[in-house]
Symmetry: D2
Subunit: 345 residues, 4 copies
Amino acid sequence: MKKAAIIGGTGYGAIELIRLLQSHKEIQLTKIISQSQAGEHLSSTYPHLSGIITKKMESLDLEELEKEIDILFLATPAGVAKNIIPSFQDTSVQCIDLSGDFRLTGEEYSEWYGKEPAPADVLEKAVFGLSDIFTEDIKTASIISNPGCFPTAALSALIPLIDGNKILTEGIRIDAKTGISGAGKGLSEKTHFSTTNENVIPYKIGQHQHIPEIERYASKFAKKDLKVSFTTHLIPMTRGLMCTIYADMKNQETTASILNYLQEFYQAKSFVRILREGIFPTTKGVSGSNFCDIGAYVDERTNSLVVVSAIDNLVKGAAGQAIQNANIMNGWDETMGLEFIPVFP
Amino acid sequence: MKKAAIIGGTGYGAIELIRLLQSHKEIQLTKIISQSQAGEHLSSTYPHLSGIITKKMESLDLEELEKEIDILFLATPAGVAKNIIPSFQDTSVQCIDLSGDFRLTGEEYSEWYGKEPAPADVLEKAVFGLSDIFTEDIKTASIISNPGCFPTAALSALIPLIDGNKILTEGIRIDAKTGISGAGKGLSEKTHFSTTNENVIPYKIGQHQHIPEIERYASKFAKKDLKVSFTTHLIPMTRGLMCTIYADMKNQETTASILNYLQEFYQAKSFVRILREGIFPTTKGVSGSNFCDIGAYVDERTNSLVVVSAIDNLVKGAAGQAIQNANIMNGWDETMGLEFIPVFP
Amino acid sequence: MKKAAIIGGTGYGAIELIRLLQSHKEIQLTKIISQSQAGEHLSSTYPHLSGIITKKMESLDLEELEKEIDILFLATPAGVAKNIIPSFQDTSVQCIDLSGDFRLTGEEYSEWYGKEPAPADVLEKAVFGLSDIFTEDIKTASIISNPGCFPTAALSALIPLIDGNKILTEGIRIDAKTGISGAGKGLSEKTHFSTTNENVIPYKIGQHQHIPEIERYASKFAKKDLKVSFTTHLIPMTRGLMCTIYADMKNQETTASILNYLQEFYQAKSFVRILREGIFPTTKGVSGSNFCDIGAYVDERTNSLVVVSAIDNLVKGAAGQAIQNANIMNGWDETMGLEFIPVFP
Amino acid sequence: MKKAAIIGGTGYGAIELIRLLQSHKEIQLTKIISQSQAGEHLSSTYPHLSGIITKKMESLDLEELEKEIDILFLATPAGVAKNIIPSFQDTSVQCIDLSGDFRLTGEEYSEWYGKEPAPADVLEKAVFGLSDIFTEDIKTASIISNPGCFPTAALSALIPLIDGNKILTEGIRIDAKTGISGAGKGLSEKTHFSTTNENVIPYKIGQHQHIPEIERYASKFAKKDLKVSFTTHLIPMTRGLMCTIYADMKNQETTASILNYLQEFYQAKSFVRILREGIFPTTKGVSGSNFCDIGAYVDERTNSLVVVSAIDNLVKGAAGQAIQNANIMNGWDETMGLEFIPVFP
């Protein structure tokens, strides 16, 4: 059994890691680290963990971590992991970063995050942990850059279509909808119930930091620099994320043939479900689970394609995929600890 | 003071008409007609109307209506108004139909609604009541075909851009989000709270009967047959409708110049608000009001345009616009009875 | 036409006053005062007011107010109005305070609010503005202490029953449920959407500052010191407040006789609706309106009474009742500017 | 490993049993029985189960069941289980009925359910499966009558207090709040999103069929016929149930002493959590888990007690407790398959 620690213990990402790791057979969570709340019980912030997580949170001690821990999950805000992970690069500790620190080139990171990037040599070692696509690279990685929630949903739908030459790489539009937990635990006007309930709120149109992340990894399969138009909306629900993606077809094809193609592409994957013709993903259909559901419709009137993908932003879009990556890195069954059926209703 | 009747008394459209007409200075609602519930009190279905609407609902009597009524609002399901309105064509009764019966050509109607269309001569007389665009035609109309909720939001954003040659007419994608009241009062899996809450549900992708309506009236301004890709999503809120529209720019322009153009286009209009750069519409920002809010963003990275429009689907998307049309037809101030500020929070 | 000012311009109470006053025939809102945002446009905080409220907010200038204003609404946090209202006591300005500053005796206020009370002589002049009960006193008042949201719903149900000797005054239990807007616009864990959605949260059990307010005015009718048990719950909705009240019957009576009694008690009142047997109030049934709906059930198995009252916490529970009080003070029809039908659905 | 079947395959109770049994180490779900949908895939009704539950639903065949099944879960509407369970009374099949058929005496059942009761001899054998109270009886039972959702929450709080002579048994008031899933999967006005969202709806006041169930088992500990006043409210959330219970203290005691007493009472129980002073249960704090959280407050001003209990109505209030009972009956750890941490946020 391997020992794991979580840094960033009081954010939603950490809380979801804790929930999921509780039933993992090969990972034992031995440390929860929070700089701001070291010494406190997690249940003082999250009463629902009363009697479940009884160890106090600890402060960060790199040397101790290196000695005691096999797997390190970093669920910290942007700009933190890049200063911590370099300390572990010559150790056997497997680092899985849920933040954006290792997802972009240094240049892109500076531009979109407005911060100094991670050291170039460490950045280079990081593998983008889109589990169902980069599975082979993940197997041998020591640093995983866990994808953002929007890129997970968008790329899971886009990459097969680009790779299979099904769509034009110009004019791709991604219309994303996310539950409020996607905005994190911080207090702001946008997370106030009275503002958000009974509301749809578009935000960061054309300026979201997940844009370069989608473009970077989609471009690998397009074999050229691809640009996407990406728009996000806050939806009055807690969890759930949907991308509705619009693209022009390269050739005339039917909905059935696109779905068959996707079905084959993901045949060996446990967590991507291609829905049958006429059925489309819903966010509730994946809630609490690590599934990414994908549906498609070829609009023959306009020869364009609508692909819809849905995930639970905190599971497949964060903590679940991080654990899936840990499973892959360690040669365990990729579904270990993630065998949850969606919670419905 | 003119006398009005509503046919279809127990649907959401009728209930909203009743709410709004309550404070109208020139229209007195004298009859509420419901075939299925004639003789009953409206408050038996809607207890919130106890003590407010005390007249019983009546059955339909065309002759009596013709004698006693000046304005007839039809808030009936598809397929009903087309059989009623012809009886009034040679009378002075102004007919405003909130259903889809008079919005399409006979051929389109047969195809998308699967029903016999209205008689061709009556169909021809009907004016499409998109109040802020077809204002002049409405002034002299005797039959108004009140637009659908999605077409209202979509066309209010699209028509100025097409008319001003700002966007390409190929490749327009409309991603629509609507509250559950848009699905009406009928009981179905899709309106069950436990199915819909904490969920985003795409539906009728590429097959919604509002598609030909959008295309027909956008085409008038494109001066050619235009096709759009249109996708709808149910959102866990009661009221509110948003269209996020994606199009390619015809020329290079900035967000500011597009917003200025829209501002000028709608300068004389009371109910269309063009938001300033960086601010986007929200459904809550128009809730309970007759406003249509529009925001825009030129994505210079992809030379494409994102336009967002938001309405209250039951007000501007149905009953409010119907009253606005009644105001215009009768030469009253178009805001009469519609001076509501959005209800916030 | 009388001129009014609102102090506390950016809270929910002020925003609702602004919404309602928009259609008032005898009150013109000429000043919105906000110490923290003087000089700014209200629409910078509330974009939904764009194009509607175009005057900038102003800072507080007592002398100017006295000269220019007839009615002053104070929608400020606890502890502010008590320092402002004394300046107006020898003027003709009518003061209506929506905060808790004038609702309790000085002693009670110190205990429950933890602040210095208002000067005793000014406190004495203030009339408790429960419009449908203290109508006569309000007519001649110059300072109105507008009731809290919970006391409005609780007392509207309790006072007639106590006054008519229908219930025992011992053992009264009030179980209150409120939408999140009741917690105001401030940011806190309890107003974060992800905390509050899909949740019921009891809070301040036995310790809410509305307890002494309910007891003080109920005691007047009990003619002795009455104590109530009062528990509040946050419900995942924006607006709406319900009190479910439990009491022991004094004598054996039927549901019908209790409802008849209440019906007679409120016969002359426009805004209290007694629902017929078998029908109970819902918060949606009064949403956006100034109604207080009341239903009752005599549980013959336990000879106890369940009374349910529902209001819109921001209308009848705050701004609406404040305007009703202004109407009564000025001899206008008490429904002026408040003729709204509930917004449904 | 024991084999289990579920009868009533498409209701929420069954769906939740399926979700929870998925990870149970000693129970294998081999049959899902639905009379109305035999031969169909469950995923045709519940797409979220695509690829997870692949066996088709079957029709009911009692003989086959008896041969092949060890544990039978009945998640059927009232009136069905009473006709099925008698067939298994002389077999080794363990029957766990989630409906109300075996919870009351025959006489009570006739009165409150309006149906013929189960045969008296079978009724007598059924053990009330309130797992944390009747643990010893459950160990040797062959027929379990799984408690209703409201009685589970209400009795878990009340029984210790009655048993320990802490409260008067007269004047107990239970104010219950439930999410909409409590109303089941059926379509009705009350489950329509537009009716229910932004609303609190009291229903069946004093007439809910869970009243005699609460009274029957509370009376066992009161050692006399006890009556309670019980009121239910629909809350705009999917899952979650809270009982706020009001009672008079027998003696003067502090909140601390009551909490200590409850803590000791439930010391050996895995799924009842007594919260520390000042903290109250929330429905979200138990969501998706089998916990029943209890908090208490002694209101010294009125010498009364407020106890709050919260459960997930579909887990502890139905499927989770059914599995807990199966665990107890079979001598397994009572937490087997139920080790879920609440899903938060």
